[in-house]
Symmetry: C2
Subunit: 319 residues, 2 copies
């Protein structure tokens, strides 16, 4: 098979041995793979794959089963999308059958490649960890990112109100079209006052930034508010106001999806299939794909993501 | 009635008007009142009573119902203990009937006066917020305090293992006798290595200290570990390592009991009655009373608590 390998820091399309499925695993002939910001961090050496994971980049794919589990749910030829701990930038990948889902009705393979990682991420963080309810006011940073566009749509689907921060007016317009109730371009100035003017305070924040945003997060979080940290784009050292944490009963929750066990990821995927997949099928929500790029040109795809110009997902397609 | 009032910073036994119960409230003729560290903070002006609460100090009492709710659970003459938002340092107090519990079988009124606040605190923070399970390794700071002695006994009752930090060898011995598996005298040096030697890492920390302990907390917290902050004895400004928070999926949870609504406190008390009160009755756990002091001498009781020499609770008794 072919896969992207990282050689001296550059991405190269290389022939490598195809993986063999272990017990409970299927093999997928990959049609498309989603690009995630985590891939760029891993490539830079700052997000090593968890033990047992493929060293190849790529956390999600769509494709066709080419080796099935005997007596399993999926048969050879079935169209699936899958959540990986690695290995997606390749023509073939193995993954636990439990971490595969059928391609939602109405989506093509490019769209399906970019939904599992971001929707599992937002389900895990907003619903499971953040205990989002229909009464909640939710602040979503990087609202136009892959995770952001999924987060604001999931919040809308479950009845919560959303405010986004983004990096351009164009992104803000797009988020509004996807259901964000309000938002700000962070280049226009501080967002704290805008959030307070919108809803007084918020109940839940989804934050890929970290340091630099924590102080403001504590300012806008209401009593019993939850701050879910899913990235460190702003750095890792921050000061926390423990007085506010205590008196307001705030919660600071660190989260990564990739290192969770299969046993903890599988229920997330089942919840997506039950609650989110039908909403793709009937158009209540939609995948947001910014560009699809041939997989051998993965370098260009990473440049796109690095540019911070993208809205939604960049997807790689196999030749 | 008589109550303790704060005049120019000193505590004085003063005649004041007796309170009248509102809807759903009973009045208790107080026999004894527990002293909590929060009382000292409130007296110093740094922990104002929540809206609607009595300005009189005192978060828990035992006594006898002298005005009942019509058709309610308790009748005039019933012996109860109660969780208050204030008003305990007095001969009479009014409180929602839902926040009263019968005095556990086998306990006298002095013992009963010092159990509701601390046991509600540890149930709320270890079980509800900290999601303590029987497999957990639990670190309890100030293990010999009222809250600490309840926390280590609750953990033991539910099957979890405990490590305490305390301020003297005497306190450590007492905590061991109450079920702490291990512990350190914090004056003997840093506790991080001792905790790691004990169990590698911990799943849950109950911390009344705050600043000064957060960095070490993050060092000893395992993946999915929870740090529940219930006090600020060490100050309110601290640096947090967001990298560790994220990668280890740590949770920093601020908590206060007093400001919770009656609707959220009542289930805590029902859980205590079901799970903890029978354990008092059959001796699996025991109240820890360090001293009882006549209520008009409340000043002396506060000096005792300030001394940090006490093990367990100081209780005030009405004349």
């Amino acid at each position: 098979m072919y896969a992207i390998s990282v050689n001296d820091g550059s991405l190269q399309w290389t022939e490598v041995d195809a993986p063999t499925p272990g017990e409970g695993q299927v093999r997928i002939r990959v049609e498309a793979a989603g690009v995630n910001r985590a891939d760029l961090v891993q490539r830079a050496g700052r997000y090593p794959p968890p033990p047992g994971a493929s060293p190849i980049l790529g956390l999600e794919v769509s494709g066709v089963i080419d080796l099935a589990v005997e007596g399993g749910r999926f048969a050879v030829g079935d169209r699936v999308c899958a959540l990986l701990t690695g290995g997606g930038y390749a023509t073939h990948v193995v993954v636990e059958e439990e971490l595969c889902l059928p391609v939602p009705d109405g989506l093509d393979m490019v769209q399906a490649a970019g939904i599992v990682e971001v929707w599992a991420t937002v389900w895990r963080n907003l619903v499971e960890l953040g205990r989002m309810s229909a009464a909640d006011r939710v602040l979503i940073h990087a609202g136009a990112s892959g995770v952001g566009t999924a987060a604001l749509q999931l919040a809308g689907l479950l009845g919560a109100r959303t405010f986004v921060t983004v990096g351009s007016q164009d992104k803000l317009d797009r988020c509004r079209a996807l259901g964000a109730e309000a938002g700000v371009n962070r280049h226009d100035g501080p967002w704290v006052e805008a959030v307070q003017a919108w809803a007084g305070a918020v109940d839940l924040i989804l934050d890929p930034v970290g340091a630099g945003y924590l102080e403001q997060a504590q300012e806008v979080l209401d009593v019993d508010g939850r701050w879910v940290l899913i990235g460190l784009m702003g750095g890792r050292r921050a000061e926390v106001d423990l007085g506010r944490l205590l008196i307001k009963r705030q919660q600071l929750l660190g989260s990564t999806l990739r290192a969770l066990s299969v046993a903890r990821k599988a229920p997330v995927l089942r919840a997506l299939e039950t609650t989110v997949w039908p909403a793709f099928a009937d158009g209540r929500i939609r995948p947001v794909v910014y560009a699809d790029v041939p997989m051998p040109e993965a370098e260009r795809a990473h440049e796109l993501v690095s540019s911070n110009e993208t809205i939604g997902k960049v997807v790689l397609t196999t030749p």
